[in-house]
């Protein structure tokens, strides 16, 4: 028996020996891939499955085909959310030029510049919930600083968070505050890596101001710009917490975005329509997929170079 077992174990051992190097990376990858599959990939398909059902999360789900999507098409609240999502994506990008501007401004050697840099970076360090609360008070129509300041010029109080016309822009502005700081820090590190010899060469060729920025500094900041773009898009799509803190999607639903609407429909106090919520999630996923595809494509191109 021992004789029968021996050759087998030597075979296995030698197979392991032979393939050790090849297998190791996969072994190291395995836990990550496993968790990514369980918590990200599989739920994507599950969401799609649930979106084809009518389910309150308690009883038996019933298959309804594309009924949820058809209803989405006739749902004015869905279009409001979608429109707000587009506003978020567009206006949030302002954080990139604003961050670049502040970074250029702070990129100098003055006494105490580190303190100024930290102060500018401060809003990114505090929690989004705090940012939301601070801006809620800032906008408050009764005692908010904004309306006190408007009062100095004789302008009437503006109910930013209670008026369907201004509310989304009010929240986006609140979100831009920390996001600008984030982009700023990305550009500050980027500026450290700008090659002084190229600047020198540009000087000799008489480049100044905008031309210097556009043709010599910005191209070297391209990696920073790319990362700033990625984090800003992600930030815009993750706008949930600010909306939840500042308005709860109100007044009468005019500041919802897709992620908040999904939460309201599927998981909040007043509704447990898992199927409908999942349908919104799928739409949101498709929007994100466009960006994800673009990011992956850019990175792939970058690596091939």
């Amino acid at each position: 028996m021992t004789q029968a077992a021996l050759p087998q174990s030597t075979v296995r051992k030698s197979w392991w020996r032979r393939n050790q190097i090849a297998i190791t990376p996969y072994l190291f990858l395995a836990p990550g891939v496993l968790f990514f599959a369980v918590y990200v990939i599989i739920p994507i398909f599950q969401s799609f499955g649930i979106s084809l059902q009518d389910w309150d999360g308690l009883g038996q789900p019933t298959y309804v085909g594309f009924e949820n999507y058809r209803e989405l098409g006739n749902d004015p609240a869905f279009y409001t959310s979608l429109k707000n999502n587009v506003w978020w994506l567009l206006l949030y990008l302002l954080a990139i030029p604003a961050g670049l501007g502040i970074a250029l401004f702070l990129n100098q050697t003055v006494t105490g510049i580190r303190i100024y840099k930290s102060l500018f970076f401060f809003p990114f360090v505090i929690s989004q919930v705090v940012v939301g609360l601070v801006f809620t008070w800032f906008y408050d129509p009764a005692f908010g600083l904004l309306n006190v300041m408007l009062g100095w010029f004789g302008a009437g109080p503006i109910n930013v968070l209670g008026d369907p016309r201004y509310v989304t822009f009010g929240i986006i502005l609140a979100g831009l505050w920390p996001q600008t700081a984030y982009c700023m820090i990305l550009y500050l590190t980027g500026l450290n890596a700008v090659n002084p010899e190229q600047i020198e060469a540009g000087r000799l060729d008489n480049a100044k101001g905008w031309r210097m920025l556009w043709h010599i500094v910005l191209p070297q900041l391209k990696p920073a710009t790319f990362i700033a773009f990625v984090v800003t898009i992600i930030g815009a799509l993750r706008s949930f917490d600010l909306i939840s803190i500042m308005t709860q999607g109100g007044p009468f639903g005019s500041s919802r975005v897709l992620s908040f609407y999904m939460f309201e429909v599927a998981l909040s106090e007043y509704g447990f329509r898992m199927g409908y919520g999942a349908a919104i999630a799928v739409v949101l996923f498709l929007i994100m997929l466009c960006f994800i595809a673009y990011f992956l494509f850019s990175m792939y191109r970058e690596e091939r170079r």
Partner: protein, 420 residues
């Protein structure tokens, strides 16, 4: 925000009265797991006192109390009823319990209601009944009504209104003196639901209101339009504080405390913060929402909080015993006293706390609400409908011209929600 309390360790002051009727109960043993949403300081003390006393009565019973934050509870209940059911759980009466009754997650406790109990708890029996069975027991409720600044009313020679015309003429006098008639904060929507409840019950009556929230009357009905027309009279006068969409109900309180607004249509829980803010009982008073249509009987909102035994409870006997215990007149008197919950007991044999608002509220609910007692808009209507409708109410208060669109939208939603 979870806290577990072993009853055997903590024995609070409420214990004293418990011994008298301990002997009536059969001995219980095993574990009794209670999940409660009574997370605010006063309710929490009450709940802990109840557990301690019940534990004294049943020394062999090991009681575990878990208090969950009131808001978080509303979503967590779905999970723990299906996955990890306690033996007793807090919830609400009316349509709010319908999803769990329909899904078979609450236990039928009709046997507790047999005999005398049904008479004593008659005021809320209909709100606890579905399919001719009772699914839990109530332990407290509170009145809604108009809380107003009596000193401001005196200053301008105003009386508590008994009819709609007086309410409006009072309001006009206040407005002429630069004071808003009503404060309100509609950020979280439900405050507008309270206004709709009262206006609709006063315009069309309790039965109509119940049929509307049950989806039997279309939102585009002329009766509903009349309700909104009445509401619009106040809105067009400028009766409500400006920018109410930006405030929660608490944030709307300072307008009344500062005398910028004279009254607040609210539940009795508004009294405590108003007193804390410095209003004395001479300055603060209460009146029942006046009649609008003299042909309909007065009906009131009185949201009821309840205890249930989940269907998957592992010790349902102990759970039911606890339900029986909290409905007894002695316990209801004590837990609703003004130094405890400060609300109204349901059991008609219980006595009401010594507080002018509790006394008035009790008076209104027991003898001046012949039309009926409603739970509240978001408990009478299905949750989804409540959300859509209250959003519509908020929009109406800001953009009254959009009424047709709003009603159209609500009607569209009913088609989907009540169809199931």
């Amino acid at each position: 925000m979870l806290k577990t309390l072993k009853a055997s360790v903590a024995v609070a002051g409420l214990v004293a009265g418990g011994h008298a009727f301990a002997a009536e109960h059969e001995s219980l043993s095993g574990d009794l797991v209670i999940f409660s949403d009574m997370s605010n300081p006063a309710p929490r003390a009450v709940m802990e006192g109840l557990v301690a006393e019940f534990g004294e009565m049943h020394p062999d019973l090991n009681i575990e109390l878990t208090v969950i934050d009131r808001e978080a509870y509303k979503t967590q209940i779905r999970n723990f009823l299906t996955a990890n059911a306690p033996d007793v759980a807090n919830w609400y009466a009316g349509n709010r319990m319908a999803p769990y009754v329909d899904a078979g997650l609450f236990m039928d406790v009709s046997d507790i209601w047999e005999g005398e109990m049904s008479e004593n708890l008659a005021s809320t029996k209909s709100a606890m009944t579905m399919d001719d069975k009772q699914w839990g027991v109530p332990y407290t409720y509170y009145q809604w009504g108009v809380y107003y600044r009596a000193d401001l009313y005196d200053e301008y020679g105003l009386e508590e209104p008994q009819d709609w015309e007086t309410l409006k003429s009072n309001c006009q006098t206040l407005l002429d003196n630069g004071i808003k008639c009503f404060t309100i904060g509609t950020k979280f929507l439900w405050t507008a639901g309270g206004w709709f409840d009262y206006l609709n019950m006063r315009t069309n009556g309790y039965d109509y209101h119940m049929q509307l929230t049950a989806g039997e009357i279309p939102w585009t009905d002329d009766g509903v339009r009349q309700t909104f027309a009445n509401w619009r009279e106040l809105i067009d006068m400028g009766a409500f504080v400006d920018n109410h969409t930006a405030y929660s109900w608490q944030e709307a309180l300072p307008f009344m405390v500062n005398g910028e607004a004279a009254a607040y249509l609210m539940g009795n829980f508004a009294v405590a913060p108003l007193r804390e803010a410095g209003l004395s009982d001479d300055q603060l008073d209460y009146y029942q929402f006046p009649a609008i249509n003299p042909d309909v009987e007065l009906a009131e909102d009185a949201p009821t909080d309840t205890f249930h035994v989940p269907a998957q409870a592992s010790n349902p006997e102990a759970g039911k015993a606890f339900l029986k215990y909290v409905t007894s007149p002695e316990v209801q008197t004590r837990i609703n006293a003004s130094d405890a919950l400060g609300q109204l007991p349901i059991n008609s044999q219980a006595s009401v706390g010594d507080d002018k608002f509790l006394q008035q509220g009790f008076e209104v609910l027991s003898s001046n609400a012949p039309g009926g007692v409603a739970q509240f808009f978001d408990r009478d209507a299905p949750a989804e409908m409540a959300k859509v409708a209250m959003e519509g109410f908020q929009q109406f208060m800001v953009q009254p011209d959009q009424l047709d669109n709003i009603l159209q939208r609500l009607e569209q939603a009913t088609g989907r929600i009540y169809d199931k």
